[in-house]
């Protein structure tokens, strides 16, 4: 029984989503995953006894609610609990809090700058305007601007209409926004360093851009365009860690009759007579299907598991030119108790929020300089959270799981490849930074998992460890993602499709690429569509 209607390579959440919608349409589908666990970068793992780590992605907002609903993920065990706020610790001993409650947030910002507290209102409105624009296109296949097919023209007109609906000034703002740096964008509203630093994080997370690199303003949107229960821009915790997302999708897939095979690494996509015919596994086994869908990033798909001869050279050249630079690392830490942060008032709700330890755009830019110089940032931007203050399932009572996302961390060091010593030194840099603000933190550490781009690439196959499976820059977005002319999820080989974060609308635990690709596949097969439409913002 080695023959299927469709094979999905990779059990990342997008691969699982894609397979689930195909199975829902009645296709016989198998997902082949190289690891002995599923989820890719949306995974929960017990790496220290009784502790569950969200060991890559750690917070959830982008996951499309339409997909949540269509796959009935609630029934399959997924629960997302919102959390809010952030705190940025300052070198001078002070801090800037951002609170869930707007009034408290305003008051706190006003403590640092009354001007900025009031300016935030316009910043929020203008950013929301940009966010709404992009949200409209998340569950849609990007149009091909060079095509004259009815559907492409219709979709292009939809973009045009969206633009024309804006006020004149908003159109100018939009054109500027998409190419601007997050630093320049923030400078237009705010005067206070720490306020800018606290907002800039969303513009640099996961990207090999600095706060003053053009294009980083868009990355901010990528962190604002999600939602929790219609609350645009809000983030939440998946109960049980981010694996909760993948596990629920996998359960839905299985309920539709789909199969998942772990420890089934694909070595080669088989092409016969110019058509996809199946895959060969590392074990030597062959699995056949007329439809093959890749959940791997575009570089890995076309350069690692395909025979170059099956593809044209110009296409391959473009694949090689796809920007997918690693820039992030992560620490997952098991704690014997809750660390204290003496700068915060007792009982502060900020303990539940994202914590950052870098208080100016200049420091973030310097952190980026280190990356350019091929070392990890000596003074990194860390997005630290203690999910166990919200989620009771991830550590024993009174004990905690701490997730530290780290920007910047290069894929290769000036000294060459990463070594285990380098990795540990990187981890120490992060732990030392946090300890500066929490004296009892180090003593509470029971176990640390340190992940540099090397581990991210080796374990889940993210090329260079790029968390979004490709930079989110204008040249690689919408109809340019991943490769101009190939934005509609079809690879140049008939029967071969792409469903990973390398495709529109990009990285993050969103499930949209997987769903959009399924819609295209079902259309090609002339099967009824099972993929939901955008709820739409009104």
């Amino acid at each position: 029984m080695n023959s299927y209607d469709a094979i999905v390579i990779g059990a990342g959440h997008n691969g699982l989503t894609n397979a689930a919608f195909l199975a829902k349409a009645g296709l016989k589908v198998v997902v082949l995953e190289k690891n002995d666990y599923i989820g890719g970068a949306a995974v929960s793992r017990e790496l220290h006894k009784d502790w569950i780590y969200s060991n890559c992605s750690y917070v959830c907002s982008l996951l499309r609610p339409e997909i949540f609903q269509a796959l009935d993920l609630a029934r399959h065990g997924l629960q997302v609990t919102p959390y809010g706020g952030s705190v940025t610790f300052m070198r001078n001993g002070d801090y800037l809090g951002s609170y869930w409650d707007h009034e408290v947030a305003h008051r706190e910002m006003a403590r640092h700058s009354r001007h900025d507290a009031d300016a935030y209102q316009r910043f929020a409105a203008e950013t929301m305007r940009q966010t709404r624009f992009i949200r409209d296109f998340l569950l849609r296949t990007p149009p091909d601007p060079t095509s004259f097919r009815y559907r492409d023209i219709k979709e292009l007109l939809a973009i045009g209409r969206r633009v024309l609906e804006m006020d004149e000034e908003a159109i100018y703002d939009t054109l500027r926004f998409w190419t601007m740096s997050i630093g320049d964008y923030l400078d237009e509203f705010f005067e206070c360093d720490v306020i800018k630093a606290s907002l800039a994080g969303s513009g640099i997370i996961g990207t090999a851009l600095g706060p003053y690199s053009p294009g980083s303003a868009y990355v901010l949107l990528h962190h604002y365009m999600g939602e929790v229960d219609g609350n645009i821009g809000a983030w939440g915790f998946a109960r049980g860690g981010m694996g909760g997302v993948s596990n629920a999708i996998a359960s839905a897939l299985q309920a539709f009759g789909g199969e998942i095979r772990k420890e089934a690494e694909v070595q080669q996509i088989i092409v016969r007579n110019g058509k996809a015919a199946g895959v060969a596994l590392a074990s030597g086994e062959e699995v056949s299907a007329p439809i093959v869908v890749s959940n791997l990033d575009v570089r890995r798909t076309f350069l690692n598991v395909m025979d170059e001869k099956d593809l044209d050279s110009r296409f391959l050249e473009r694949v090689r030119n796809f920007h997918i630079r690693g820039s992030s690392g992560k620490l997952n830490i098991a704690l014997d108790g809750l660390p204290t942060f003496p700068a915060l008032p007792k009982g502060s709700s900020l303990m539940h929020s994202d914590m950052h330890f870098i208080d100016s755009l200049e420091r973030i830019e310097r952190a980026y300089d280190d990356w350019k110089n091929k070392t990890w940032s000596r003074d990194p931007y860390v997005d630290m959270l203690i999910p166990t203050l919200t989620d009771p399932t991830m550590a024993p009572p009174g004990k905690h799981f701490m997730s530290c996302f780290v920007q910047y961390c290069p894929p290769e060091l000036d000294t060459g490849e990463w070594t285990d010593q380098d990795r540990d030194a990187f981890g120490k840099t992060v732990i030392d930074q946090i300890s500066e603000y929490s004296p009892d933190f180090k003593d509470l550490i029971l176990h640390v998992e340190i992940r540099t781009p090397r581990e991210l690439e080796q374990e889940i196959g993210l090329t260079e460890g790029n968390i979004f499976q490709g930079e989110l820059t204008m040249d690689q977005l919408m109809f340019n993602r991943p490769i101009p002319g190939f934005a509609q999820y079809r690879a140049p080989v008939k029967g071969l499709y792409m469903c990973s974060s390398s495709t529109h609308p990009g990285g993050g635990v969103m499930a949209a690429p997987g769903a959009n690709a399924a819609r295209e596949i079902l259309a090609d097969l002339k099967r009824p569509n099972t993929v939901p439409e955008n709820f739409g913002d009104d």
Partner: protein, 396 residues
């Protein structure tokens, strides 16, 4: 506002009168107004409302945003900021004004108190320091927020003048509408302003004098029906007066996300506040064009609606089929005995030729019913008693 360095409290803030308002709040009904705890109602909203129409109601307006604007260019600055001619507002006078963005859309409305030569207080519903500071470019002027430093009470109703006289404010009866004056060696400022459309005053002191002011006022008013009044009662009074409420009847332009949701002064029925003849001001070009071309898209109208079912959240139709707008504020008016509303309709329909109707849904014992009720567009406030303007006012 707290001092830099000192952590802010996550608890809702207390106004300068909290010790008194909490004592008076038998219902323990509060809402957060800009982060300050503010009474919805103290004992019963309708009794409080009638206090301000029949005797005197006292409203704690501390959370109102206040700015102090001073400097040699204060007048020139304000004149460029707002749409009306500020050179006509002499010291000792107060002006209701709106200010717009460059596109001529209203950012907010508020009152500007000309305290003395070169010294003003601007009082607004929203918070605009970023905008106000950006507008200082080129002017020798300073803008400082003083919301938390200044405590204020609205003292509104037919016995309000008598109460203030009894409180010892000699000569208060001579204060004209939109006038301001000082007492207690300048520690107490009184303006003849308010949000009820009735005879009334607003009292302004530094925070430290607040409780004493409250006590004096209530002592003086004991025999003249003084009562604390919450936000619910005030809202009723302001709708009857036809006053717009920012964030309810219009959205400040800098908060607007969707296209076409901001409003010009003309669209809000505030064209009388726009002086296209005066020196340049923010939004002037756009407003001159809108006026010349008659290109206003919306019209704010006051409606008297047939029947007695309040038209909350109703659609407005021209005739009974063509949907042309929506209600933003509505109520049964106890003083006017009319069913009234403020509504936004598409520009050509804001008149009685359009035969406007409101689609009203109302619930009786859980069951919902619907009526299409005829609307009459009116120009005047729904409630506008002569005592509002009388100087000196009668004692009751």
């Amino acid at each position: 506002m707290s001092v830099a360095g000192k952590p802010v409290s996550e608890r809702v803030l207390r106004t300068a009168f909290y010790s008194r308002t909490s004592e008076a709040n038998l219902l323990n009904k509060w809402h957060s107004w800009r982060g300050y705890t503010t009474a919805d109602a103290y004992y019963d909203a309708s009794i409080e409302y009638f206090a301000c129409r029949n005797a005197t109601g006292v409203f704690d307006l501390c959370p109102m945003t206040k700015y102090r604007i001073t400097g040699p260019d204060a007048l020139a600055y304000l004149d460029r900021l707002v749409t009306r001619d500020m050179t006509r507002i002499k010291p000792g006078r107060v002006a209701y004004a709106v200010w717009c963005n460059d596109a001529g859309k209203v950012i907010d409305d508020g009152t500007i108190f000309h305290l003395s030569q070169g010294e003003y207080r601007l009082c607004a519903y929203g918070r605009h320091l970023a905008w106000l500071l950006a507008a200082t470019l080129g002017f020798d002027v300073s803008v400082e927020e003083e919301t938390d430093e200044i405590a204020a009470l609205a003292v509104q109703g037919p016995t309000s003048c008598a109460i203030l006289k009894d409180m010892g404010l000699d000569g208060i009866e001579n204060l004209k509408p939109f006038g301001l004056t000082h007492f207690d060696h300048g520690q107490l400022m009184v303006s003849r302003t308010g949000f009820t459309g009735d005879l009334g005053y607003e009292l302004w002191v530094e925070r430290r004098f607040a409780e004493n002011l409250w006590d004096r006022l209530f002592e003086a008013g004991r025999l003249r029906g003084i009562r604390a009044m919450g936000g619910d009662a005030l809202d009723m009074a302001r709708i009857e007066a036809g006053f717009l409420q920012a964030e309810v009847d219009f959205l400040p332009a800098d908060q607007v996300v969707r296209p076409g949701r901001a409003r010009s002064p003309y669209e809000l029925g505030l064209g009388w506040l726009v002086d296209l003849e005066k020196a340049n001001f923010n939004g002037r070009r756009a407003l001159a064009r809108e006026k010349a071309e008659g290109s206003s898209v919306w019209q704010m109208v006051k409606l008297v609606i047939e029947g007695n079912k309040p038209a909350d959240a109703s659609y407005i139709y021209a005739g009974t089929r063509k949907q042309v707008g929506f209600v933003t504020s509505a109520m049964w008016s106890p003083v006017a005995k009319q069913n009234i509303a403020l509504a936004t309709v598409k520009a050509p329909y804001g008149n009685n030729e359009s035969n406007l109707h409101a689609e009203i849904y109302y619930q009786r014992e859980l069951h919902w019913s619907r009526v299409m009720a005829r609307c009459e567009v009116v120009d005047k406030p729904f409630w506008d008693p002569p005592r509002r303007r009388a100087t000196p006012p009668a004692d009751y």
